[in-house]
């Protein structure tokens, strides 16, 4: 070997390896790259991008002869009746349409696969002997899932905005409370709503990550997380379970609409943030407790 870095033969002195604080960020970058270069991630984002386009086109086709949508304001997702007046409402409609299942389902897939997928592929053992460090690896995984929550939400919002602007008029935005604000402020509120929706998904992301540490099968973890989501959404819709519903992670999801009031009605939004924080604290801790002690046998 003619390499300069050849280790001293039979060296007795071996200084402990130095760790630069910045170098440890390499894993986070690598994690983001791996997440967003997966074909599956891109497919999920493509599906999310298609939703607002389809909704926009459907509304456009249905209203092209000046008619109104379906059976009035109560049919279809929230805000859909306002879309023809202002394309910006397609953003709110699309988020309201995808938030119950589509959007969280994609998060469940990515979060469920995060650790279990690496275990199933065997790459987990090589990351751990690299050594990535179990806590650091889990933190990187969680960061990547959170990034996906944001990117997924923004994908819906941006595609809705573009579709809405192309198909419908834009201009002053009439808020739910009746006051009108400029299109610029409307845009700012749309961004705030997208962020609120992304944050709504954080609790589920932590739950999915925990499920992901329980198994060595990525498919099983994804299915379990999505199954949990569906179960919880059903429980959240059964009136007799009113007592437990405030503790279910999707209970305050639709509070993002309160950002469209003037003044903004913060109550539900704050409750949502608190609920997501609680879920994150519980399940991120559980994921850490499980992952930092488990035997990696695959």
């Amino acid at each position: 070997m003619s390499r300069a870095e050849a280790p001293p033969a039979g060296a007795a002195q071996h200084p402990a390896p130095t760790v630069g604080a910045l170098w440890t960020l390499g894993l986070f970058r690598s994690e983001l790259l791996v997440t967003f270069r997966r074909w599956r991630t891109l497919a999920l984002l493509a599906v999310l991008a298609a939703v607002p386009v389809v909704v926009g086109l459907a509304v456009r086709i249905e209203t092209r002869d000046g008619g109104s949508i379906g059976g009035g304001a109560e049919g279809g997702p929230a805000f859909i009746s306002q879309v023809t007046n202002n394309g910006l409402f397609l953003v709110f409609t699309s988020l309201a349409a995808t938030l119950p299942f589509f959007l969280p389902m994609t998060v469940g897939v990515v979060a469920g696969d995060a650790v279990a997928g690496e275990a199933g592929a065997g790459t987990l053992r090589y990351l751990l002997v690299a050594p990535a460090g179990r806590t650091r690896l889990l933190a990187a995984k969680f960061t990547a899932v959170l990034a996906f929550c944001l990117v997924a939400t923004l994908t819906v919002a941006v595609f809705a905005l573009v579709t809405g602007a192309l198909l419908f008029p834009t201009g002053e935005v009439t808020l739910l409370s009746g006051t009108s604000v400029s299109f610029g402020e409307g845009l700012a509120r749309a961004l705030a709503i997208a962020l609120a929706v992304a944050v709504s998904l954080v609790g589920l992301a932590a739950l999915g990550l925990f499920v992901s540490t329980l198994t060595d099968s990525g498919v099983a973890a994804m299915a379990a997380t999505v199954g949990l989501l569906i179960t919880v959404q059903i429980l959240n819709a059964i009136p007799q379970l009113e007592a437990v519903q405030p503790f279910l992670f999707p209970h305050h999801w639709l509070s993002f609409a309160d950002l469209l009031r003037d003044p903004v009605y913060w109550d539900g939004i704050v409750k949502n943030l608190g609920l997501q924080a609680a879920y994150t604290a519980v399940f991120a801790s559980a994921a850490w407790a499980r992952f930092s002690t488990r035997d990696v046998t695959v």
Binding site: H14, P17, W23, W39, G122, D295
Partner: protein
């Protein structure tokens, strides 16, 4: 799990375990009170049939599995307590390579290198390039790993183990699934690395592989260490047995005995015995001089396999 006060047993030992035990939750005893010592600079063969506890031991040494009893010191530090200090100095190939099929060979190495917090990102590209070159994958570095053949995947796994200068290489069944040419390449790479002063810990269920490359070996059987030592010691008495095939076995046995061959056994037309030191050609000449018709004449080596069978009383391919 770590005892900071526990003195290192032996500074020249790269791996040293005392009573290392792993009982899985189902009650299955995978590794039973293992006392293993791997000297620095050796090429250490870790032998045993599939299911004998080799892989569980290796995973405990690398901090992937927590032992249920005993201690393990690797590069002088207790495991799994010191993974952050110890593992950057170890390259490992565990139970075959595992790759991201949707990434290129080069990107796979970049990812594994990024996982190591001690790896300098400034030299990452250059180190990855050198590792690819070393295993002969430079030309295929841009291809997606899922298109690689098993041999190429194995080599990429080795490249990942060689991203940094290492003191110890742990290679678990490195030639599994390779064709004879691939096996030869791995063996020559192991010899080359050993020549650079790296200790190589090599597990295998192939005895001739261990005999060809290793200086030391340990034999596992049903979770227990049967023996360990230098390969020469293990196949002690490996001077080999003299075997003569002849239509005159009686005369042959007499002549051989006169020339110092001991422990003679005659079986039909075959006469075997332990030859005295010296050139066996002289024995053949003596046989021919005495008018014994020799059909075949040779020394059969006592292999490590014979040693293993005599140690465990079992054939080698029996799962424990």
């Amino acid at each position: 799990m770590s005892e900071p006060t526990a003195a290192r047993d032996d500074d020249s030992a790269v791996i040293s375990t005392r009573g290392l035990t792993k009982r899985y939750r189902g009650g299955q005893l995978a590794v039973d009170a293992l006392d293993l010592t791997v000297p620095r600079g050796s090429v250490f063969g870790f032998l045993g049939p599939n299911g004998s506890g080799k892989t569980t031991t290796i995973r405990m040494l690398l901090g992937l599995i927590e032992p249920t009893g005993g201690t393990a010191h690797v590069l002088g530090a207790p495991m799994p307590g010191s993974v952050r200090q110890v593992l950057p100095r170890i390259g490992a190939l565990i139970e075959g390579p595992a790759l991201y099929g949707f990434l290129s060979g080069r990107d796979n190495l970049l990812r594994y290198d990024a996982a190591d917090p001690t790896a300098d990102p400034g030299t990452r590209g250059a180190r990855v390039g050198r590792a690819l070159e070393r295993v002969g994958l430079s030309a295929a570095a841009g291809r997606k790993a899922r298109t690689y053949s098993l041999g190429m995947k194995q080599r990429l796994g080795l490249a990942a183990a060689l991203l940094q200068p290492r003191e110890l290489l742990v290679l678990d069944e490195p030639t599994n699934g390779l064709d004879p040419q691939g096996m030869r390449e791995i063996r020559s790479l192991v010899r080359e690395l050993s020549g650079d002063g790296i200790t190589v810990f090599l597990s295998s269920h192939l005895l001739d592989e261990i005999e060809q490359v290793c200086t030391h070996a340990a034999v596992m059987h049903r979770g227990r260490l049967v023996t360990q030592g230098t390969v020469a010691e293990l196949s002690a008495g490996a001077r080999g047995r003299l075997t003569v095939t002849t239509p005159d076995p009686g005369d042959a046995a007499r002549v051989l005995k006169e020339h110092g061959v001991t422990d003679l056994v005659t079986d039909g037309e075959e006469v075997t015995g332990d030859p005295p030191p010296g050139d066996p050609a002289a024995l053949n000449a003596a046989l021919v001089r005495s008018g014994v018709r020799v059909r075949a004449f040779g020394l059969r080596r006592v292999s490590l396999e014979d040693a293993f069978v005599s140690l465990t009383g079992e054939g080698f391919d029996v799962a424990g």
